[in-house]
């Protein structure tokens, strides 16, 4: 920290300043600094205000209706007289798309971050970074428009085929890899080399048949699926994962870079390949930073409004069966807060108006807690890494 008193007064006799002038300077500096402090603390004041004003309008709802209905009932009929305010299906919908987008974005994002920090040469990385930045910069309403007008009809008309090809493209290479690795692992105990090779070939053949069967069977099952409506949880999850990816990639890349050269070099010196170094040494060391990245990415998906509003179908129900991603859902942010406010606006003071703030409060608390956790986690990683 720079010493604040350094500056004009070195204390040497060459700069003789009268006591009065010195006091004036002191006072000026104090007021200046406190003004700066006031501006800086403005952010904290805003955070407090947000909590206060959202809670102030949320609490009347809980006073009117209690907690039980809001969290346990799935009957959402706010416009009825008297209304029903069961938000369970809506909370479930929020959780469902958040989980779905995390399932897509987390593996992809971490793989991309590893690639950016350890694999790609510098000059290619320079081109990859703007791609991620542009992905982050596209406004959410543009993503929503894409989901509604372009992606939903595609999904509705060719849903099964799209799912089948996605499965083949993703699972194919992985199954090939699994066949090789499994064959290797099963035969690793065999001491005689010629015998081992023969045995491995046999095992590879056996696993290939299994893998081909799996590929074909799952592909066929997926191909037979008829998607009734393109605006569903799957569509939203995919688009939300696009939006969460940039956050996950950039934060986990920072975490990976923070691990430093020594660990990597130590691992290479022990004869590990690059993949082994990354998976067994670097990733564990960066794990807390990556956890923070995942939390932040999930928050981005949970708090997103426009995509969900436009492409989720907005039906307040728990899908049947509960894991059916091809059903329409509704989430806290969108349909509910954004969509109902227009009508509820007129009757400030009713349960209908306050329930939206209750949902806002729920989101706010959630984001606050996850932010807090991710921050702690990052601090801890920094401490551990600097301790070494």
């Amino acid at each position: 920290m720079p010493d604040t008193s350094s500056g004009t007064m070195g204390g040497s006799s060459a700069f003789v300043v009268s006591a009065k002038k010195r006091r004036m300077q002191q006072i000026m500096k104090m007021t200046g600094e406190s003004l700066l402090f006031l501006v800086a603390s403005f952010v904290a004041v805003v955070v407090l205000f947000i909590f206060y004003f959202v809670a102030r309008d949320a609490i009347p709802f809980f006073q009117l209706r209690g907690f039980a209905e809001f969290f346990t009932s799935t009957n959402w009929y706010p416009a009825d007289e008297p209304g029903e305010f069961g938000a369970l299906a809506i909370i479930y919908g929020s959780g469902m798309v958040t989980l779905g987008s995390a399932l897509i974005a987390v593996p992809l994002g971490i793989a991309a971050a590893i690639c950016l920090s350890d694999v790609l040469p510098f000059n290619i990385r320079q081109y990859a970074k703007p791609v991620i930045e542009m992905l982050a910069a596209i406004p959410s309403v543009a993503y929503g428009f894409f989901a509604l007008v372009i992606f939903a009809p595609l999904l509705q008309n060719f849903g099964g085929t799209i799912l089948m090809w996605t499965w083949w493209v993703i699972a194919g290479p992985f199954l090939v890899l699994a066949v090789v690795v499994l064959g290797d692992m099963v035969t690793a105990g065999e001491p005689d080399e010629a015998k081992r090779d023969r045995k491995r070939l046999l095992m590879n053949g056996f696993f290939s048949v299994l893998a081909l069967g799996l590929l074909y069977w799952v592909g066929n099952t997926l191909n037979a699926i008829q998607i009734m409506s393109g605006t569903n949880a799957l569509n939203v999850s995919i688009i939300l994962s696009f939006m969460a990816l940039p956050t996950i990639v950039s934060v986990s890349e920072d975490a990976l870079q923070a691990v430093g050269r020594e660990l990597r070099e130590g691992s290479y010196a022990l004869g590990a390949t690059r993949a082994e170094t990354l998976v067994q040494t670097v990733l564990p060391a960066a794990s807390s930073g990556i956890l923070a990245a995942v939390i932040l990415g999930i928050m981005r998906a949970l708090g997103e409004t426009m995509v969900v509003w436009m492409a989720s179908g907005n039906s307040s129900q728990i899908p049947d069966p509960w894991f059916n991603y091809l059903d329409s859902i509704r989430t806290l942010t969108a349909a509910t807060i954004a969509g109902d406010m227009g009508e509820a606006d007129q009757v400030t003071g009713s349960a209908r108006y306050h329930v939206l703030f209750a949902m806002g409060l729920l989101l706010l608390i959630f984001s606050f807690v996850s932010n807090f956790i991710s921050e702690r986690v990052v601090v801890r990683q920094r401490k551990i890494l600097s301790g070494q």
Partner: protein, 448 residues
Amino acid sequence: MNIGTRKLLDRSFTAVGFTSIMLMALALLAVLVPIITGGIKALYFQGTVEHRTLLFNEFQRGDEAKLAVDAERSEAARKPVYEYLAAFDTELESLPFERKRALESEYHHVRDTLHELLGPLPGDTPPLLLRFQYGVTRWEKAEEELHNLLYMTKWDYSDPTKMATQYFAPRVDEFTGTSLEGLFGYVEEHLEEMLLPQPEFYWGFITDRSLDAHIFGGVWAEIQGTFYLAIGAMLFAFPLGVIAAIYFTEYAKDNYLTSMLRSANSTLAGVPSIVFGLFGLAFFINTMKVSESKSVLAGSLTLAIMILPTIIRAAEEAILSVPKTYREASLGLGATKWRTIMTVILPAALPGIITGGIISLGRAAGETAPIIFTAAVSVGATIGIADVFTEPTPALSWNIYNLASEHEAANEIRHVQYGMVMALISIVLLLNISAILLRARISQKLKG
């Protein structure tokens, strides 16, 4: 494990990394390409004579003499159509009741479609809404309408085990033997002469006001509203953010209070955008009463709060990246701390600070959720700069949502929606690209 397998695993690990980056690039392309190709159609398309008439009547734009010639030509080509209709009108009266009733609803459909194609038919009462006063303005729509005129959509229920399949039956079959029979063939052959399509570059899409709730006209009101909101937000957030960053980097002591302020900053960055909207409604409008109801001012304030953390972080980073030697040299020459900040550190950090500002500007322009309750209206005219304190405004982001999901004719005006999305994305991406270029120049300069 076998060394070959280990190598294979290593390679495939690399491949997974590459693929994921490629996938992200592909995702970007998959979103951008259809939006841009669709958006270009809003600006460049085959415009019919109806479009040229509309532009002349509403905006006094275009060559009057040439338009008169065109109108005359198309009127001549349309005359037989009107004659067919008139002849059939009289024939319909003379038909036996059963036959008349069977034909009447189909005939209504024909008249409606012709109205869509050519504008009001002779004998119709002049329509009040602008959208009914003109025929089709875009040639690709004319082709769709022609198909509607020539064919009926029917459903085939013959196989009860399957979903019904759709097929088209020629409409002319219904009218065989009547005086309307010739109409269908005539329209099919002479549609081009009736509408006189020609390629048109409609730059007015950017600069015109919208006509009849975006059925015709441009999106200037939305673009202007977006600029007001984004720039308004910057006016509040930029000075505050830079000052706060100066405090955090230069003055803040490493204590509990500072770390609390910092985590307040990251909490604010993580608040979902819709909650900012709720806060803006509850605080700026209902409590502070900055305006009667929604206004640009309330929206700008809400957006300002939203982008503040980003600006603070970017400014902090820019200030921290100024080499230490600059500061030491200045202090060593006897400058005060404040003077050092103002004359040495800030100028050196300025490009970095501006980069952060530009990115935040793009974010403020693109965000929808915070302005839904505080500033945006779906239909509205352009507002003057003096009205920003009291009036709400249409804005690109909100109107994209509104036109795509709530507009009564959402399917008919896809080209307007695409055009709006392209306009918004162009604004945001241009801002971001300039920020990226600016940053590349800074890093080059710092390298020396």
